[in-house]
Amino acid sequence: MEILLIEELDNTDRHFQGQQKNEEVKNFTRKHPVVLLPFIGVCLVLSVSLILVLISLFSAGEARGSLLFKSIFLIAAIFLILLTHFFFIRLLNYYFEIVILTNYRVINMKKTIFICNDKEIVDLHEIQDIKKHQAGVWPNLLNYGDLLVTVSTTSASMILRDLPHPEYYFNQINHAKRGYILERGKEKRGVKPLPRQYQALPSPTHHSRSDSEVSSPQTRTK
């Protein structure tokens, strides 16, 4: 039983590929849905136009059997199918772009289904400064904005664009950074802290945290 208590939870690849053994996901978020608005508007206009073309072709009466009608109908239908795929792929790509905050680092994943697969990581101890940028009517009205994470090295800063509730994530990153520095300080002084899941352990039967605790802002405290 003692071994069970001392043994830490292995989080390797638990929530995302590359997650380290002692790494806990504190938060994750996607972009604000407002980023989809221009794209949805364009798709809506184009699809309505194409559907109107198809309806007018169908109501052509006698010309329906002609080759010209069928050619135009086929072209319009193929365009509509392409537009549908474009629309849904863009919607699905929305779910791929994730910002993850762990107790070690900030990870910005820019992925699409077919084209892009980028990952940007900044360790918490590298963070020198964080800036919140929320200028304009819409960002303040709909509560979204950018976070600029400046790192201590000469490499480029990490920009987290169009985050919902930027103030919350701004505070969360600051909090995680402070926690990380505190933990490292304790380690340097030779005090090895227990993993958080064991710190307030009532009994050995409650040694694992539920997944719902490792989620997004739903666990936030106001």
Binding site: F16, Q17, I78, H85, F88, L91, K111, I113, S215
Partner: protein, 77 residues
């Protein structure tokens, strides 16, 4: 010429459906690698689940492919 159009329409319908299936397969392989607990703060507009969009995508693509095929099949026969 009409059978050629029908062949093009059939190919477009098949390719469209195939593309949809490949996209969904890639999506689910990604989901298996990233197991996050979703909440109202992470879903699209707070309520739209990814599985709903996938289901809708499949239904729309399938129905459009079928409609295209059904419209042009008589030219092949």
């Amino acid at each position: 010429m009409a059978p050629i159009l029908a062949l093009i329409a059939g190919t477009a319908a098949l390719v469209s459906f195939g593309f949809c299936v490949v996209s969904i397969r890639r999506l689910y392989s990604y989901i298996q690698a990233h197991r996050f607990e979703e909440s109202q703060y992470t879903l699209l507009l707070g309520i739209v689940h990814l599985h709903w969009i996938v289901g809708l995508y499949l239904i729309v693509t399938l129905s459009m492919s079928l409609a295209l095929a059904i419209f042009f099949i008589p030219d092949l026969l």
